[in-house]
Subunit: 114 residues, 2 copies
């Protein structure tokens, strides 16, 4: 993770976890389905706001990734919202194709606990 | 956080952060609005599954809390889903009253970044 050109007033409002990250919930703007959850540091949020493409920090690979960059299943970001505590983001997106790497429509389709 | 009676097969599938937590996205089962995000350890998930009331771990207060216990703005849990990676939960709930402690319908109502 690098120092970021994220707007300082916004950066000051973000409450990050000990790894410098906030969770970003991604919701389909049309179907309203919750598609997935990714993680953002300041730079990932900056890139998302600037480009309108969902950009996350991969905790496992320790690198930035743009949703759909390899699969073509892109997310065009319509809205980005910060919650009341400043520690969670909500993205409303136009999703191309399935959101999940398994091919499912959402990452929550297959495993119901209750 | 305590050792939990969460079903071992389920516990084995959970991928927790270094604090032993997973994020739980809460969505209104009727309006499909994303209401809030809370954090669960194994015990909070166990209590949620057993009681059907959203129960979280407060990172700031370091204690369990049942949504609506003081405000009356309860969440009755219709579904709990685990994502493809085993590291995020999605709850579909029937929300009584506003979900946010500010009185807003959701915790994402007031702060649009894009």
């Amino acid at each position: 993770m690098t120092s970021s050109p994220l707007e300082p007033q916004l950066a000051a409002r973000l409450k990050r976890d000990p790894q410098g990250l906030v969770p970003a919930v991604v919701q389909d703007a049309t179907s309203r389905a919750v598609l997935m959850l990714g993680w953002m540091d300041d730079e990932a949020l900056h890139r998302t706001l600037e480009t309108g493409r969902s950009t996350f920090w991969s905790r496992s690979r320790q690198e930035y990734w743009v949703k759909g960059e390899t699969s073509g299943h892109t997310q065009t970001v319509r809205e980005v919202r910060l919650d009341c505590d400043g520690d969670t983001l909500l993205l409303l997106v136009d999703q191309v194709g399935p959101a999940c790497h398994t091919g499912a429509t959402t990452c929550f389709d297959d495993d119901r606990l209750r």
